[in-house]
Structures are given as structure tokens and as C-alpha cells.
Symmetry: D2
Subunit: 499 residues, 4 copies
């Protein structure tokens, strides 16, 4: 920084480098590409200075969303995302974003890419032996594998050893969801009966039921691959721990299986069990999806969306059932192309994440689309960012899956009937939102396209049109059965504790 | 609480009191009337239990706004407002609200009304003497006076002693703004030349320029009346400090002036100076307000609003120029009927505050209206709460004073012209928002009335209609000159540092 | 501070004011008299600059003790005490002191003396009425009354209305302990049967058994007099609360009883009950004190100390039984002359407190002595401060009441016997300390006088000599029965939870 | 823990497991060997329960020292040390210890030993290449190398490649200080001119002058070996970073040099420069050490101590000059046998560290001695722990190097002269302590041996006697020249900023 000052001063007596320029220069040096925020006195000058340096500035509508966007750009690019806020209330509004992700944020130090570490050779050998001796092996691919860019190695390992695998929500796409070895459709079964589970950058948190019975065998052996020593041995005592860069460790494992090739028998009873369960689960889903009754149910909606989903799109999602069911139906084919409410279950992240992904796709000119699948309650947390989307003309497709409530709601007639019994503050169930809200008008208010759809045909048509228009955003407000829920779960009581 | 349990248990063996009911009962005991929040597992049951106990539940769209609403209800009713959020991200989103106001919030202890304390008798005598000897006295009436319900006493003091007074933003209405002794229209002059200033629950913060020159005389004598000892002597060394309940202290002062009656001469040169300055300032404002050019300027807009403003309405406001200029034109006639972004300058508070006020007016059946005056940027922070307004059918009138930006913006043509030079992230000034955004459609999306107004006539008509319909909300999107600013200030550099 | 700078600069071009001098000047302006601390780079210069300004610097041996000393000087003088520490470990060591007292410490803002507030007149009337109607009234005089310098008023109230009173530990001396209306010797009885209790700056914390049954009547009426609104209504719902400066409120009460004089009948059965209980308790104590067996017990020790205690001395104390029993026997005759481990039960405060009191007595040339009564375990927390005492030649008399342990210990023979069974880490009870430790040598090591006493006669003689020498410190190491405890309590289980 | 409960319960209906026992059992499961603390209600029972489980309990005199002892036992054994304190003040007193070391303390989770990670193969190659190409190589061996038990590998590397090395304070002994390749005596020169520096678990903090000019070449290449990614690249941009277990990475480097053997020429000009500088520095030190004048200087003292120092002893040290100069003279021959005030420069750690080391040596029956070298000011922070030493009869030898002050002090005559000018609080330099304090009496007070020494002969004799008595502690109070300082430094201004 001192060099910058010196250079500037040598140009002439009058020229001065402002604090804002110094900050912008420092960010540029850290290869920051984008800054998200809301200006105000005295940070407006920083945004202007950043633009002059070639850093893109994206003005948002609430610091919450700005911070979520900045964290997403960090995840997608591996470079720090910056969130610009005023002190006081602006900073406090941004706390949600900072808590949600260990993002690299304003006032945060940036650093050079960390060096790569590998696992101990003896531990690699032991892990390979445990895998070879497994009767019912399973790989679980987590967000950490995506972040480590370990997709090539893990795919080779899966294919060479013919192992079944399961992605976590943000591990989806490290290997394409439609890979024949993906057993996501038999998730509960796979977890419950596996005898050896290899975790690639996946934590045994509530999403994975903490690795505990009855969702797992009491004597299941875990092999943990992680960059973070503090994550190892959480909740369970692993059989083998491989501490190191997930990509590097995967390559070490591959070398091991190169020396002494081995593959898990494709005709084993374990594979048979998994395939049968997948088949039956897929049949149930398809059955639900094909129901003709109106309003539509979740499965019908997502099957139609999946049919038109471009293979290279980004999928962003948040909500309760919308996110959970959508994840089982919507496929990811590329790593780091799914962003959702994550471990923390934070509502309000969707639009910020979508904006970050769309800004990136536009800047890199990849033509990739961003599909943002929102529950109607989730959309309310940051719906005003639609103006940001329109202002930057980002061709995001927002799907609001609308059941008139949180978890569930009322149809219009029930709502009106209810109001006869008293004031809404007294009689409306706390989960209810206004029935038949026209969220699509929040999009048309700012010049984007809006669709209010009630039938599969309307859904198909609106999706087709939205995908065809590569220059403008659209919002499809999809009315579903207000009392619709997911299909029966084997562990309903556990699932409910999700959010 | 144990009594509740015991009572419930005596009803029968099987009957159990849930934790949610215990919490709801405890809140009821504290005379909580309303709970604002967003439900989720596991707090939904608490909301339901509260409704059963007769506590009104208002479901909001973001914890930020919920918390602002809860703090406003606390200010308006003097009883704790409750904000219900889920742990983790919900709690973090609510921090803004908690920081913004020392509200009584979820997990917060409640307590009995505090006892009243009075100022020392000798200090009262000294204060009276200082006032009697003042050459250029001034009273400043702050939010603390409103909170202490000191309106009757302060009005008597003003009228009996014939003293000029000035309200702070949320002190407006303690005495009606149109009272002949109100010198708000000569605010800068009054502050700058007063030799004795009595502060009733008003802090010498940035809003009052810290009590320092050049905005004040270097030897001005401050008399501070406050309930909070920690506030006394901040920034300046007061001549007299009166520690105690503001209402009680005011009465002590009145008794003093009852014993030895005194009044400040209405024909003094100080009164003359103030009246002249008020006259000239009001003329300038009126001149600005009467400009016929389009788009309208701030003064034109607010003069038309003021003409139709019901005397008993609540005025809520947030924004930069919108709030600052609006405050000078829009009159308050009742105490505790103005709520704005306050000392902390927090954006995003407006809709939560408006909802709280409207819920109260509805519950008390007063027929009072809530007018919520928002800058366009400010509206973006919590605009989705319009759905909440419509769901509870609250007849709030939202005015969005729209200059296409933060502080200022571009008109449509300039915006389009600018985009020829590059991507918006690179070339759009960080203060710019999308020009001609149809914020009124965010209202129509949920069934409320929306108006897009560009002329004084359209503004008058839309206001008239909105006020006439006492059953439904409306949003009037008022387009003003994108580069419009306030009239010239004597201390422009200080004013800029406001937010 | 800017004036200081300006003044200094006008003296000449070359003269510069260092940061250390600016800090010292600022402290001087706040009327700081003493600074306690430990120097190190870079704060040595601040200590030197303070000395130049006339602020006394007292170098201590551990930041813990420095901070306790600074807090005591604040309590005794009403002006901020300053604690000077280096950053990092020095600051962390000082945290104990900062937590122990809301002292005004390094980096803390100082302020002018707060204005005086009074209670509402109607509340005063109500309080007087409640007192007049009391059948079994009791006043409790707390540390707050001492801090408010309310001694004159409270004494008048006690004597005019002939009411029984009880001091809290640091409220001792507001009225002399030997005042005929003091019912400390019947403490439990007084608390348990009183029907009206007036609290003057005393909190209903564990020391006062939280104001709850069985230590109090379930329907006892509390009248709380306090400067701090947050303290009112803690734990119990008071009948009347008088918010204001304790001295001012006491005068308001006195005026009330001046208008309509009233006194509580000295021949009431309540007074009779209390006097009888006092008599019987005092007899029991005297019986214990007169036991001739050796080693001595606590009562024997304290009775001999009390006999020689100068009426105007400061009594500092810490420990478990040593502090508790000592408090019942050692009398205070002046307000603010007792300092002990307080509400928080902090060990390690004694020597710092004693140093502060002695520094003050020396500076004011009052000839007052400081008697510091320490348990042997308590002395270990900051015993090295004896060097500080000797360095500044402070004539403090340290009494270490030594039972070879925490709560209790072993005699030498038992200790040796025990060690036959294994290593001390394995077999020594955790409460044991080394038997017959010669703590008095810690004093002689630095040139003070040391006494190892085992009999009443030795104790009397050593005390006499110590009091006679007004120029040097001494430490009397008093060996007592290692298993000695207090006399039987009515509520033993409650008493045990004290520390 | 539930198994424990179940087992216990099956023994009989009446038997109950207390909370204290459950805690003690959990600590035992974590292989805790020792607990340090101060008991009080309600933690006494935990100490007793721990002893029953076979965990040694060491009762200390101040929680500060207890926490330092617990952290040292953790460093020495690799297993968690436990510090037992009461809540409130006890916990606050312990904060110093917790801040001083990332120790495993009470309420802290314990975990299995972390897996070993290795550096990336390519990075190892690159590091080897950089080392091979170095003109002026230097290894720096830090505390991390000691903690990783990397002594064998690093010694092989040094000897095989014939590289000069330098230990950091707590890296001393990983390779014996008297190893011919140790260039500690030419420390400043070695740092200043090296062109390649390999850091083994050493941080570029103030002790290593942040790795910056003028203490280093501007273009020096750093190779960092560390387990902690966050440490890499701090302050400087390293040429190569090797992330992984330091022992494992060292072995990887050794394998590299096994494949292609290489050694740095012992006759290089770099080695010649270093050897010459070492010779001249050693001559200067010897010159200082041999001065016959009295009082002694630091070098005389330490040379005599070094002569008698057992090769396998633990050296503990704290102070300013005492620690800095002592470190250059006193030799370590074994890894993890030096404990000092460390990076944080914390005063008060010495006695706790010494107690921990002595407890360990006694338990393992190694006959190793602990030599604790204290400055006089440093000793004052926790001198009362001498009672703990005596109680557990730990044969620690305490050396108090006494210059009557912090950094420097006054002799007795100067002190008396000074007091003629005013009160000590006004005139005594803040660095002064009481002259000729007999710290050795703090030892004799508790039955240990004490020596007051003023000449080399007295020092030799007292040391000889102390070492000969393997069953009892002793304290040697060594009077040195009060104004003695270290020999001239090349970078005096930098050195001053040390503490």
C-alpha cells in the first residue's frame, strides 16, 4: 500500500490518494472481482473507487441479501467476495450472512491460496484395506469435495471400484446425479445398512442424522476425508481419518487402488438391495408426479421443471418442503452448481445466491442459466431483491412454489371462512400467508416477466418461454395444493426436526 | 408459573401443560398484547398458545421487520412487545431490531413499571433561576418527554412562561407542531443563538449536532432533564442537571413558576429574530412547494400530503431526504404519533413500525390512520411486508417518494444512455436504482390499491381515495425529480454526515 | 485535551507533549489521586508522567491486586481509581478486579458527579404510612447507603423513630455497630419475623437470602430505597419503592416524620424478642470466646482483636469462616471503613484493599490504622503484596487466621501420618495447606515485623506492639484449631452455599 | 458416561453416582493424569472424586498459577491438563492461563489424537530444490517441532545436510544447544544474512522480528513447515509452504535427500562468517562473565549456573533481562525441557510451570531436577506458590535474579537517599522494588532452604548444596548490580520493544 501512496504522490503535489482508493486497491490486489452492498455515507466513495479499479459493484436492497450474495461468490470463485455496508445498522443487518457462511467479508483479511496437505501413507493403506473388506460400502460426497475441486478423482474412484455413492445437498453434481452409481433415490436404505461409509468432505451433522442409530448400523465404520482436523471424530469415532486436501487424498487413494486393483462386485446383494429400493422409490415419486388433480402437488411441479432444466444451469433453492423435495427430483450434472439454505437452514439466502451466480455467468459469458426455486415464505425474506435482478438485467428464473403458507396454508375460501370467526391476529394459524398472493407481480413491477400458473400445462409453457428469453428475468408463481406435503418417510419424526 | 401448573394439573391426570403454554401464560401475565414473528420448528406452538391466551399474533416476512414492529408496539403501549423467532438465523436476523431499540424482546425479562423519581429541590430552584435570567431561551422536547407522557406539563410550562420550543424528530407532537411557540421552522437559528437551552429527554447526539459550536454559542447554558443519569453531561457540561422522571420534574418546575410567576417577554428581540427567520424559511419552502415543473420536488409532494393529513394520524417515516424534508413539512398534533428511523438511522424499520401502529389503531378501534412515508431505497429493505399489511387488511397508506436512487438517481433516458458504456456493475453509480420502478404493483400483487403518480393532481386524487377507503391498504408511488435535493442549508457539510 | 495541546504548543516550537503526558493530564483533570499498577513497555512513561502531575503511583506485584486496590480507592474517595497495566497478559490478569467491582479503571471514561434525584412525594407518604403501621419493623443498611454518605440521615431516622436496624457487611459503620438499636446479634431472628423491612441501598442477594421464606415471613413488606431502578423489584415484589439518591430520600422520609412525629414503641414485644435473642447469642459467643483450650478457636481470636481495635481503623477482610465470623465480632464505628470480599466472594482482594486504605490514611495524615484480617488460604492469593506494603512503609496490621487449610486443615502430626499412605497429590484432602506455615516470615523477608502466635497472651502482646508502632507494617500469624468452625446456625444448609 | 451410570446402578439400588464422580470418570477416560486448582463450594467434591479415580490433585494458591501449571502439563505430556476453579472470580482469575496457552482446560472438550497429515509431494520437491540452491541456508527450530516430537528427523536433516540451525526459545533442546551446527551465538548475524530460511514450527512473530528487514535480507526465501494452515504466509510471503505434521514432513524431506544426497559445504564462506561471529560473541560473553566486580552482573551469574546445570534438567524461566540473557547462556540438551514466558510474554507463569514439571519428574521417578530462573519482579506475580512447592515437597531450585526492580532498580543507599525527597508514591521510579528483599525467606517460611548470595562463591556453594539435596526445594536469592543490563545489541531499538 505504501508503494501505491508513493507512486501517487510522485505524480504531483495536488494529487492525493483517498482512503477509499487505498481500500479498493487492496481489494484488487486480493483479486476481488465483485463487491455487493448498499451505499451510504461514508462508503459510497469506496464503491465508486472499486468500480474504477475494475471491481464490479452490485447494489442490493438489504444488507442481509448483500452478504449472502458475497458469500456465494466466494464459494463459486474461490476468491473473496466483499460485502460493503455502512456501520451500525448496516453491519448488523449483514450478520446473518456472516453467520451463515465463513465467507471472506468486509474487514476480513484475505490470504494466498493455502498449500496442499496429504494424508499419512499408512492411513491411506488402512483406508484402502477397510474399503476392500467392506460388505456394504457407501461413499458420501459432501460440499467439501466440491469446494476442493475433487470431482475428477472421486469420479474415477467410484467408477474404478464400482462403488455406490450419495451426495449431500451441496455435494450434488460433483458426480452427476444421473450417474448409474448414484443411490440418492435409496438414501435412507443406503445409510441404514452400509457397513463402511467414506465421507468426502461431508460432516455428520443433522442432515446426515449425526451418523447415529437407528439411521445407521451401530457398528458402521466411517472413513473420514477432510481438510479440517476439528471435523474429524465429531459425533462418531471413525475407523480411519484421512486429514488433508480432499483432492490430494482422493488421488492417494486412487494410487493405492492402481497398485492393487480392486472392484466391488456389481452383482452383490447390496447393489441388488439398493437398486430395488431405488426402483420402488422412483415409482412412488413418479406416481405422485403423474397425479392429475388440481392444485398440483410438489412432485408434479418438480418433474415438469426437471424435464426442462438445462444440464449446465445453476440451481439455487430455499424453503422447507420446497427445498427438501426439490432436491430429490431436480438433478445436478456439474459440481458447485447447487446453492441452498445449507446446514444452518437459513431463510433469505436464495435471491442473493442467485444474483451472485447470475453475475458470474454473465461476466464469464457462459450462457448458463440460474434457476432459483423458492418456497413462498422463503421468497418473502428477500423478495425485494427482484428489483436488483431487474436492474442488472440478470436472466434468472425464479420459481415460487406457493402453498399459501409456511409448511402449509389455506385456500382462499377457507381463509375467508376463517375470518368470520375473528380478527386474523386472533384466528389465523401462524403458518398461514395471504392465499393466492401474486408474487409474479413483484417481478412485473420492475419490468421482468411474471406468470401465475395453476396447471401443468401453464407451468410447462411459462418455463419454456422463460428459458427461451436469455436476456430477461422471470418469476413463475406456481400454485400448489395448500395442504400438500411430501411422500411418507421412514423416519418421519426425525425429518420433522430438520428446520 | 407453578400455580398455573398446579391449577392445570388439578383438572385431570391426563392434562399436561406444554412448555409453549407456560411461555404464553408468562407473557400474558406481563400484559403482553401482541407478538410479532415468523414461525418455524419448534416455535410454532408458542404462537398458537399465545393466540389461545388472547395475545394477538402477527406473522411477518423477515425477522428484521418483526423485531422493528415489536419495538414499536413497546414504544406505543408502554408494555413489552414480543418478537418470536427461531434460533440460529432467525435470531441473527432479529439483531437489527434489538440493536435499534432497547425493546423488550423474546428471552428478555419483563418487570413492573419503574417507580417515579424526582429532581433535587435545590437543582429545580437553580434551573428556574437560570431560565428566568435567560436572554434567549429555548426548550428542546425529545423522545424521552413523549415516552414519559409529559405532554401536559410541558405544554403548560411553554404557555405559562411563553417560551419558544423545538421538538426532536420523535419529540414532535408532544406539543402540536402548529403551536405558535414552536420555532421548528427556524431550527438552525434557534440552536445557534440561544443562550439557555432546556433539554426535555433529548440527547445531544448528531441530530442535535452534539451541542457544539459552530451550531451553538460556545457559552450556551444547557439544562438537562432526563431519567437516565448516564445521559447527563454527555458531550457538554450542563449548567444544571435535573435527574428524574421527566413528567415529575416538569411538574416540579411548574410549581416553582407557580410560586413566583414569570414569563419571557413575547416582544423580546429573540422572539422577533425567531419569528422573522420562521417567516422567511416558510416562504422559501412554500416557494419550492409551489413550483409547477415536473417531475415534482420534495416540497411540492409534502405540501400536498400535509394538506390532507388527518390530525390524529400516525406518521411513520424512513429514508434520507424523504425523512429529513418530510419531517419539516408534515405536522404532528399528538404525542407518540411519529415513528422514524431514529438516532441510529436504521433503514428497514418503516413497515414494521407502520404495522405495529395500525394493529394498535385497529384493536383500539380509534379509526386512526397510519401514513408511512418511505424513500424508494428505504422501502426496498422490507417491502415484502406489504403482504403482511394485506393479510391483516391494515388500512396503511404507504407513500414511496421515488427518485430512482439512494440520495439521487437517474431518469429512464439517462439510465439507458449510461448502459451503452458498459455493464451496469461497471458503470452504474452505486446510488442508482432501477428508474421508474412500479413499487405500487408490490401492493396490487397482494390485493391492495396501487397508484403511480407523476403530477400534483394525481397525488391529491390518490391520497383522497386512499384516505376515503378505511378498510384497505394502498401504496402511492410518487415520482419526483431524480436529482432533487433539499433547499440550501447553512451547514451543508454537517448535514451530509447525517447517515 | 486540545486545550492542553494548544497551551503546550504555544510555549515554544520545540516543546512537544508526549502521549503519556496527555493521558496523565487527562487523569489529573478527572481529579485522579492515585494510580496502581505494574509498569512495563510501553506504559512506564505513563506512570512517570502521572507522578510529575502529582498523581501518586503505587507499584504492585500482580495486576489482580493492582486492580482490587484501584477499585477500593474509588469506593473510599468517590473519585476514579486508575489501574495501569500492560496490554495482553497484564490486562487479562486485571479482569478479576474489573469483574469484582464496577470500578473506574484504565480505559474507562470518567465523568462529573451525578446529579441528585429524589423519590416521588406520594411514594414517600406511602412508605411512611407502611412504616407507621408496622408491627415488627426492621431497617437494613447496605453498602449503597455508605456510598451515598447517608449516615447522618439514617441515624436520625433510627433514633427519632426508635427502629431496630441491621447492617450488611459493607453497610457496617454507617451507624456504629454498638448503637443500642443495632440488632446484628439477632440477625436471623430479625429477618425471619419482621413484617416490614426497609432496605437502604441493600440488595436482596444471597447475603440476604434473596428475601425469601423460610428466612423471611412470606408476607413481609419490603420498602426499597435505591439509586438504581434495575435493582428495584429483584427477587421480591416490594410494597413501596423509593427511587433516588439514598441520602436525599432519607431526608424526604425524615421530613415526613417531622411533620407528623411518630416512634416505634421501645417496649413492644418485637423489641423484647430481639433483645432477648441478642442477649442469648452474645452469651453463646462469649462462652466460645472464653474457652481456654489450645489451639484457639475463631471467637477467642476475634474477641481479643476487638478489645484492642482502634475505633477509627479501617477493617479489611477476606476468607471463609475468618470473614464470616470476624464480621460478627469486629465492630465498625465509622461509615466506609469496612472493605471485604463482598457479594462476589472474591478471594485475593484483601491486600489490595488494605494498601488502598493505608495509602489514603497516610496521604490525609489521619493516623488511622488498617487492620487486614485474612484467612490463610485467602492470604495466599496475593501474599506477595507484602513487599509492596513494606516498600511504601504502610503501617498495615495483617492478621492471618491460620487453620492450615481452606475451611479446615490438618495439624502437623496428622499431616505427617497421612503422608505415609502415599504421595500428597493422591492422599491429601484438597482443602489442606501445609501445616504451621510461617506466613509471618513473608513479612520479615521484607523488613516488617512478624509474629507467630499460639496463645491469647501472645496474640494480645503482638497486637499491642503492632498498634504501638505507627511507622511499620506487621503480620501476626495466628494458629487456630485446624478443625474449628463456627457456632451452630439455624439454617446450616443455607449458610453453606455462601461461597 | 451412560455405561458408567448403568454399571454403577447395577451394583445395588442404594448406590448413586454423584455428578462429581461422573466428571472425574470422564476426565479419567480422557487419560487426564493431573488436576490443578483451588477448591471451594461446590467443586471440592470433584477434586476428591478425581483423587479416588487415581488422578493426582495439586492444590495451588491462586487460579492464575493453577491454570499455568495445567497448561504446562498439557505441553509436557501431550494429554489434557485440567484446571479446577470455582465459578465467578475463580474462573476470571484463570483467564490469564487460558489466554496464555491453548490449553485443554475445565469445560473444554477433549478429543482423540489428531490424524497425521503430510505435505504435498511436489511441494516437498520444490523445498528440497530451494534448499539445495541456497547460498546461505538456515534452519529455525520452533516450539512446534518440539510439540510434534520431530527431534529425531530434524537432527538427521541437520547432520546429513550439514546445515546451520537456530532454536527459538521453546525450540531449544530439540537438537542439543551444544551441537556444533547450532549458531545461536551468532543469532542476529544468521538471521540478517541468510538467503534461505526453513522454519520448523516457528512463527515469524516479534521474537523473530516478523521476518522483516533490516533484521533479514529483503529477498530472503522462507520455507515454512507447519501443521496450521493459518500460520502460513503470515507477515511474509513464503517461497514454499509445507502444510502437515512437522515430524511427517521432516521425514518426507529426509526421503528426498536420501534419494539424491546433498550436503551444504562446511567450508563455505557462510559457515566461516557464522563461526567467526559465534567466536567473537562468545568471547564477549565470557569477558562479561569473568568480571570480578561486585555486585555480579547477569553473565557472571548465568555462567556459574550453567557450569552446574544437570544435562537432563527442566529449565523454566520468566522475567525481562533475566529470561533473555539466561536463554543465551543456559543450555538445553533435551526437547521439551524448556518452558518460559513465551510469545505472549506473560509474567507469573514460572512457578506454575515449574510445579507441573516437578510433579511429572516425581511421578515418573526420573530423578530430573527443575531449575526455575526468575527475575525478582516476575517472582512477585506468583511467589506464594512456594507454599505449594513445599507442601508437595518438590525439589525445585528457584533462582531469583534480583536487581531490586523491573528492568532495573536502586541499591539500598540510593533508595534511602531518594526517600528524603518525598513519599515513595511521589518520588520512587515506577520500576523500583524494595532493595535487598529477602525472597529466600519466602522459602524458609515454609520449611524449604533459602540462600541470600552476593558473590560467585556463595552462588556456587548454594547451587551445589541445592542440587545435592534431592528431596527438598530451595530458593537462591542472587543479588546483582541493580543497574546491570545486557551487552550491547546491534538492534537496540528493536530489542526494547520485546515485552
Amino acid at each position: 500500500m505504501s508503494e501505491t501512496n508513493r507512486a501517487a504522490r510522485s505524480d504531483g503535489d495536488e494529487e492525493q490518494v483517498s482512503g477509499a482508493e487505498v481500500i479498493a486497491q487492496a481489494l484488487k490486489t486480493q483479486e476481488v472481482e465483485y463487491m455487493f452492498g448498499i451505499v451510504g455515507i461514508p462508503v459510497t466513495e469506496i464503491a465508486v473507487a472499486a468500480q474504477k479499479m475494475g471491481i464490479g459493484y452490485v447494489g442490493m436492497r438489504n444488507e442481509q441479501a448483500a452478504c449472502y450474495a458475497a458469500s456465494a461468490i466466494g464459494y463459486l470463485t474461490g476468491r473473496p467476495g466483499v460485502c460493503l455496508v455502512v456501520s451500525g445498522p448496516g453491519l448488523i443487518h449483514a450478520l446473518g450472512g456472516m453467520a451463515n457462511a465463513n465467507m471472506n467479508c468486509w474487514y476480513t483479511e484475505c490470504c494466498m491460496p493455502p498449500p496442499v496437505s496429504m494424508a499419512e501413507t499408512s492411513a491411506i493403506c488402512m483406508a484402502a484395506t477397510v474399503i476392500r473388506n467392506a460388505k456394504k460400502p457407501l461413499l458420501i460426497i459432501g460440499k467439501g469435495a466440491a469446494y476442493a475441486h475433487a470431482e475428477e478423482g472421486i469420479r474415477k474412484l467410484v467408477e474404478r471400484c464400482k462403488l455406490p455413492f450419495l451426495p449431500t445437498p451441496m455435494g450434488k453434481g460433483v458426480i452427476p446425479d444421473n450417474h448409474p452409481n448414484c443411490v440418492a433415490a435409496a438414501r435412507s436404505r443406503a445409510l441404514q445398512f452400509a457397513d463402511v461409509i467414506v465421507l468426502f468432505g461431508a460432516r455428520l451433522n443433522w442432515i446426515l442424522h449425526f451418523g447415529l442409530p437407528p439411521r445407521y448400523q451401530p457398528d458402521v465404520k466411517f472413513i473420514q476425508v477432510d481438510i479440517c482436523a476439528e471435523e474429524l471424530g465429531n459425533n462418531v469415532k471413525p475407523a480411519v481419518t484421512l486429514l488433508g486436501d480432499i483432492n490430494a487424498v482422493t488421488k492417494q487413494l486412487l494410487e493405492q487402488f492402481d497398485k492393487t486393483p480392486w472392484q466391488y462386485p456389481p452383482e452383490s446383494s447390496w447393489w441388488k438391495t439398493l437398486r430395488e429400493k431405488m426402483k420402488s422409490n422412483e415409482a412412488t415419486s413418479k406416481e405422485l408426479a403423474s397425479q392429475k388433480s388440481l392444485p398440483m402437488n410438489y412432485y408434479t411441479v418438480f418433474y415438469h421443471v426437471q424435464e426442462q432444466l438445462p444440464r449446465d444451469c445453476f440451481v439455487v433453492s430455499e424453503g422447507a418442503n420446497t427445498m427438501d423435495i426439490g432436491r430429490t427430483v431436480l438433478q445436478n450434472y456439474l459440481p458447485r452448481h447447487r446453492l441452498d439454505a445449507g446446514t444452518f437452514g437459513t431463510m433469505g439466502v436464495g435471491l442473493g445466491f442467485a444474483i451472485a451466480a447470475a453475475i458470474l455467468a454473465k461476466a464469464r459469458n457462459t450462457g448458463q442459466r440460474v434457476i432459483c426455486v423458492e418456497g413462498d415464505s422463503a421468497f418473502g425474506f428477500s423478495g425485494m431483491e427482484v428489483e436488483t435482478i431487474c436492474r442488472y438485467n440478470l436472466p434468472i428464473i425464479l420459481l415460487v412454489v406457493n402453498n399459501n403458507g409456511i409448511y402449509q396454508g389455506f385456500d382462499v375460501d377457507s381463509w375467508k371462512e376463517m375470518l368470520k370467526f375473528g380478527d386474523a391476529t386472533a384466528v389465523a394459524p401462524p403458518v398461514c400467508l395471504l392465499p393466492n398472493s401474486h408474487y409474479e407481480q413483484v417481478m412485473t413491477a420492475f419490468g421482468g416477466k411474471g406468470y401465475f400458473v395453476q396447471t401443468p400445462e401453464e407451468l410447462q409453457k411459462s418455463l419454456r418461454e422463460s428459458l427461451a428469453d436469455t436476456t430477461a428475468p422471470s418469476l413463475i408463481n406456481i400454485m400448489i395444493e395448500p395442504q400438500a406435503t411430501r411422500k411418507a418417510q421412514d423416519f418421519h419424526w426425525l425429518t420433522r426436526s430438520k428446520i
